[in-house]
Subunit: 118 residues, 2 copies
């Protein structure tokens, strides 16, 4: 049984706290990550919170990439949702782990659309 | 141990296929769902694919809401990621299940940021 989508849920810990608060840096990093995994970027929406933290999403032809950061904890939650066989979501994860300076991380993969046989 | 975020992953099956292909309807439904759970909408990005299918994300003050649809299978993958105690993500799920005419669905909740005690 194949799934329609692959969904990587990534917890990035002990990140560079300044980076986690830098909307411009994070937007660039997310687009670079999307391209690195072979995806086509269609749109994005980012927002910086007061006093800290950034949320952002990149919509891709192959689904989406999202990030929510908590600089006060050095933590970011990243989701990489892809469909199709032309993308390698692990490469997007590698880019973000490196760019955010995450000293620790955990990753789980969930198959989406598992009841559909394709 | 508390988590920073609640993440509902929802598989909507046997949906209204026409609705799954209607970007305008889906964008409105997603915004209504976000508001229904008590969230504040900050931005959105939606895209319709050829020959079919829609992807879209709503960025909220309390994280994000995303949807990817496969009209050919009557299937939609919905994610509701929220933080804070002022929102009830189940209410957003109820809105989308109803508006998309999903005859079947499954839902799993994942705690995000579980290593941080708040």
């Amino acid at each position: 049984m194949n799934a329609l989508g692959r969904h990587l849920l990534i917890e990035l810990q002990d990140c560079d706290k300044e980076v986690l608060n830098d909307l411009s840096f994070l937007r660039d990093a997310m687009v670079v990550a999307a391209v690195a995994c072979g995806a086509v970027v269609l749109g994005e929406s980012f927002h910086r919170f007061s006093p800290q933290g950034v949320s952002g999403v990149v919509v891709m032809a192959e689904s989406h990439l999202s990030i929510h950061t908590w600089p006060e904890y050095g933590y970011a939650a990243v989701d990489i949702f892809t469909c199709g066989t032309t993308v390698e979501p692990e490469k997007a994860a590698e880019v973000l782990i490196e760019k955010l300076g995450a000293k620790n991380h955990s990753l789980q993969e969930i198959q989406r659309g598992p009841l559909v046989t394709v």
